[in-house]
């Protein structure tokens, strides 16, 4: 599996569009709770689908990072977010609300039929050749070059690998190694070395991924209890709940 955040542009117009579609699919209203509820579906979607153009990478990574924060806040009460991070979450919520209004409007604009056409002006007047004062060989050559300079370059459709804090793959490798050696460990032990809350979050997601793949069993006795990870034997068939 590819650990990079990626989405096929043809399906969704970037991360916000995808989030809105997921929220709408579940008939939820836009709130931090609903955004957090679709985080898994969002990350699943982006790891399942192909790459995206360089130009979209920055937008995508920024939103994915905020989603990870949100998800972690709801799942890991131990995690304290900075006010800047809380701001990121609020910000995302706001952008989604703005875009949702815009989408409704855009739809009603597309329903407007009929249009007005400008006239072509009075054409009966015979053109008169009057050389403009600024038309010279030099000015024309310069104008052609300036048009070329600002013309669109052929699009580069390469896909890029985007790494944010730590990639899921790296985390999965680390987790696998530690689970195999310790057999049973708590998530807190595992995440102790992490300096950045985002790293904890990535760790958490990696853990979920391991569960999905049948590598590990995760137990949490009660809310806010220690999360325990157990090695579930060799890599088996993936389990989907």
């Amino acid at each position: 599996m590819s650990a990079t955040f990626s989405v096929k542009v043809s399906d969704y117009e970037g991360p916000l569009d995808l989030i809105l579609a997921l929220i709408e699919e579940r008939k939820l209203l836009i709130s931090d709770v609903s955004i957090s509820a679709i985080a898994d579906a969002f990350l699943a979607y982006v790891s399942e689908h192909g790459g995206f153009p360089v130009s979209e990478a920055a937008h995508f990574v920024a939103v994915a990072a905020t989603l990870l924060l949100l998800k972690s806040r709801s799942l890991l009460p131990v995690l304290m977010l900075t006010s800047e991070e809380e701001g990121d979450i609020k910000d995302l919520e706001q952008r989604l609300k703005l875009l949702s209004i815009i989408k409704t409007v855009a739809q009603s604009l597309s329903a407007l039929k009929g249009r007005l056409y400008f006239g072509s002006g009075v054409r009966s007047v015979e053109p008169i050749f009057v050389p403009p004062p600024d038309m010279t060989l030099q000015s024309l050559a310069a104008a052609a070059n300036s048009a070329i300079v600002s013309a669109p370059r052929p699009q580069i459709r390469d896909e890029v690998e985007v790494r944010k804090v730590l990639s899921l793959d790296e985390m999965i490798e680390r987790l696998t190694a530690r689970i195999q050696s310790a057999l049973t460990m708590s998530f807190r032990d595992f995440s102790q070395g992490a300096s950045d809350p985002r790293e904890i979050v990535v760790g958490f997601l990696a853990m979920l991924e391991l569960v999905k793949r049948g590598f590990a069993e995760v137990r949490q006795q009660q809310h806010f209890d220690e999360i325990t990870i157990e090695y579930a034997g060799a890599a088996g068939t993936p389990r989907y709940e």
Partner: protein, 196 residues
Amino acid sequence: MQELLVPRVMNDMSMPLEAKLEALLFFIGGPVRIAGLAQMTGTEVSAVTEALQALTNILADRGIRLILTEDEAALGTAPELYELIESVRREELEGPLGKAGLETLAIILYRGPISRSDIEYIRGVNATSSLRTLQVRGLVERIDNPSDKRSFLYRATSEVPAYLGLSSLSELPDFEKVAGELRAVAESKSVEATVT
């Protein structure tokens, strides 16, 4: 066919300003700045604006309509005759705007003049190619940002109401309501920012 502009020395003082504006807009054929119309007719902008309002009423149910934006005016064919004009039009067919183009246009209409980065903030994707498409189709134009010399703002042209079959942008669906909603959401953000 003889010359359409019959030369005749005559005092044009007898013609009302509406008639002069109608003739000028017809002759030029595309959108004209209201300031330019004032200059051509040797009158004040306020008088031109008023006369354009009068012309709007004169043309209300005719084959030709007046299209007005904040600073431009143009004559256009009635939107009800869309199909008739389309049948005689000999220009390359332009397909409908896609989702990206429509959303970007909506942001510019209801929130513009607006910078590219603010558009990208709302849509969460790069706006370069949508803005380019809209500019190529003459729906959007780039103007200087009065508060930042190094950046630009995008705003709708008079091609937009024409494209949507409206005589002016004030006829946009739920303009006040939607603009208000967008403002409310956007403002809650700046409040947040000052609190934290």
